[in-house]
Amino acid sequence: MKILTGNDLKTGSVVWWDGQGWSIYVDDAVDVGDAADGIMAREEAACRVNNPYAIDGEKTADGVRPAHIKDRVRAYGPTVRPDLTLKPADPEAGNWVI
Amino acid sequence: MVDRNPVAGGPGGGPGTLEPAPGGERDWLRFRDDPAPDEPAVTLDAFLDQSNAGSVRLEAGDDVRRLGPVLDRLRLVEVDFPRFRDGRGFSSARVLREMGYTGEIKATGDVLVDLIYFMRRCGFDSFAPNVPFNREDVNAAMSRYPYVYQPAADDAVPIWKLRHPDLANG
C-alpha cells in the first residue's frame, strides 16, 4: 500500500493520512493509491502538514507497517526511550521497529 | 553619539531612511536619489569588451575584481542570485564598494526578503527580486536590528565603537 506521512506544521508531530485528516497513529494510515500528490499539495497549501511524502507500507495483522526503518522509528518513537513513545506500557514494542 | 543606529545609505548615496526614492511603485525597492539607468545591463565579458556600456550584469561566479580598472564608466551593476543559497553576490557587492564604486548595485533573482538588510550593509542599494516582496516584510526586515556588530560597506557604527566613544574615530 502507499501511505502518506509528514510532520504537523505547528507541533512537528509525526502524522499519517487517515483518509480525512492526519493521525498520529500509523495504524490509521490508509492506502492512497495514486492520489498522493494531490492530497499532499492540498494539505501543504493549507498549512496543515510540513514536508509530506508518500511511502510504501504493508497492512499486517498487527496494523500498518512502513517499509523503511526510518519511518518505523517515526511511527513508534525513539527506541532508546520507550517511555516517550506511543506505546510506553509495552516494553517489547520497540522490537517492531527492527 | 547616537545610540540607535539604523543602517544608513551605502556609499553611493541614497537615503538612510526606509522610504525609497521617489519614482512610484516600480522604484520602491531602490534606495537612491539619482535617476535609474535605463540601458540594458550586459555580461561582464561584453562590458569589458565594449567601451560604451554603462551597466553590467554579474553572474554568481564572475570575479568582480575584473571591474576594478573600469569603475569610472559604470553606473549600474546587477548582481544575480541564481538561488538564495548562493551567497557569492554578497562578497561581490562589498568588494565593489571597497574598490570605490559609488554607482547602483542591484540584487536580482532569488533574493530573500529576510536577508535584504544584510545586503544593504554589503552595498546593495536596489532590489529586483523574482518574487515580489511584501512591503511590510521589507520594512520589518530593514528596521529589525538596532545595532551592528561589525563594520561593512555602509556607514553603520559597530557596537564596539559605541562602547568606546573615547577612541579616535579610526
Partner: protein, 544 residues
Amino acid sequence: MYRYDKYDQAMVDARVEEFRDQARRRIEGHLTDDQFKPLRLKNGLYLQLHAYMLRVAIPYGTFDSRQMRKLAHIARTYDRGYGHFTTRQNIQYNWIKLEEAADLLGELATVEMHAIQTSGESVRNISADQYAGAAADEIIDPRPWCEMIRQMTTFMPEFSYLPRKFKIAVIASKVDRAALRWHDFALRIVKNDAGEIGFEVYAGGGMGRTPFIAFKIRDFLPTDQIFSYLQAVLRVWNRNARRDNIHKQRMKILVHELGEEEFARQVEEEFQHFLTLATDFPQAEYDRIAAYFAPPPFEQGLSDEIDRSDPEFALWVDRQTVAHKAPGYAIANISLKPIGGIPGDISADQMDLVADLAERYSFDEIRATHAQNLVLPHVRKQDLYAVWQALTEAGLADVNLDLVTDIIACPGLDYCSLANARSIPLAQKIAERFADRQRQQDLGELKIKISGCINACGHHHAGNIGILGVDKKGSESYQLLLGGSGDEETSQAKITGPGFDENGIVDAIERTVERYRAIREPGERFIDTYRRVGMDQFKEAIYG
C-alpha cells in the same frame, strides 16, 4: 564570565522578534518550507524524525547556574524533561513545537542565551578548551578571544549565506582537548620569541563525508588582526567555493582543490587588503571583554590534601578530576555516560543539581565538553567529597572519563532525519559489554566515537575506535574504524574492512580491545599501540 550589555541584549532580543515574525509567516502560509528552512536553521531549529529540534548555543562551552536552571525549565516546559549535550558543546532539545519556539527563544534571551547560528550555512558556535581559565597548562584564558570572535561573526553581512557551515575552535595549550584540527578554522594561542601573544592558525579541517585535518596556514598572527584574517579566509572561501554540490562546499574541499599553498596565498592577499580597511576590533574592546574573564577570587593557602578514605570516592577523584592552575583547587568532570544510558542526555532535575553544585562549589561556572560531558571548573579540593556525594545521589558520578565507556555518540536514527542507523543502542551495548570497572581501568584511555551516518556528528573519524552506521539494503550495518584522534597528534581513523550488524560490531570491538591488551607495551594507550603496530595486527584479530 561574559555578561551582555544593552547592545548584546538588544541584538538577541531583536533576533527573537525576527524569528517570531518568520514563524508566524510560515504558520500563516506566507513562507513555504523551502523558504522557511534556511531561516529556522539560522536559529538552530531543525525538523527531525519526531518533532522540531532546537540547538541552543553554549558559547565556547561556558555557562552558569542561572542559565543551567533556565535550560532545565525549558526542558520541563517546552520539551519532555531532558536535554542532550552535543559534540560541539551545545545543548539540544528533541520535542520542540514550532508554535512555541519563539517563546522559548525569548526565555533564553532573558538569561543571555540564544540559538543564533547553531545551524545552517553560517559561522557556528565557537568551541574551546573546556578547561579554559582553569587548566594548569594554558598560556592564557582563550575565552576573551572566543567572545570577541562570537561578536565578530554574529550576523556578518557579507557572509549571510556561506557555502556551508563554518566551525571555529580556540585553545591556549599544547595539549588539545578541543579537536582543534578537525575544525574549518582553528586558533592555538602561542607566545613568540619576543614573548608576544598570537595565534597559530589552522584552516581547512572538518569531518563529514570527506574528512580532512586542518593544515597550519600561519605560524603567528597578531591577535589584533584576527578579524581581518578571519574575513580574508571567509571571503576567499565564499568567492571560490563550489555551489553545485552541497557535499563539496565545505572549506576543506576548496583547500584540497586549490592546494594549501594557493589557498594560503589568496588568504594572505585578501588579508593585506582587509588590514587597509581598518575593521579590526581595538585593544580596548579586548580589554573590556577580558575583564569579564578575570580569574575568580581563589582562596589562598588552601591545602592540596584530599581525604581518600572512601575508596569509591578515591576512584572518582583519580579518574574525574584534573590539575587546576590554582593550588587547592581541582577541575571536576561530570560524566554524562552512565552504563546503559544515552551519551550526553541529562534530565531537568540533574541540570538543576549541577546548577546548585556550580553555584555552591565552582564560582558559578559550568562547562560543556565536546565529549558530551560536563565540568565544574573550579572546585576546592576540600569540597570534592561533598560534590561527589551529591553527584552520586543524582546518578552523575560515573568513573569513566576518556575510558572505553565514555563514548561519543550522535543521536542517530532514534532521532535524526539524516541518520542511516541507530547510534545510541550501540553505545549502550558497548558500555554494557565493558561495564566492569576494573576492566575499564585496565584498558585505560580509549576513545570510541559513533556516528549514525557519514555526516560524522559522532566524530567517528577521530575515534581511537570509530563506528559508522550505514544503511545496508534497508537494515542497519556498522563499519569499524581504527586509529583516529582529536588530540594534538590528530589522525584520521581508517576502515578495518567489511561491516557488521549490531551484535557483530560489539564482538569486533572486543576482539580489537583484547588484541591491544595482548600486545601493548608498558604505558601504551590503545592509540599508541595502534600507531606502533598498524592496522594489520588488529585486522587479523577482528576478521581472523
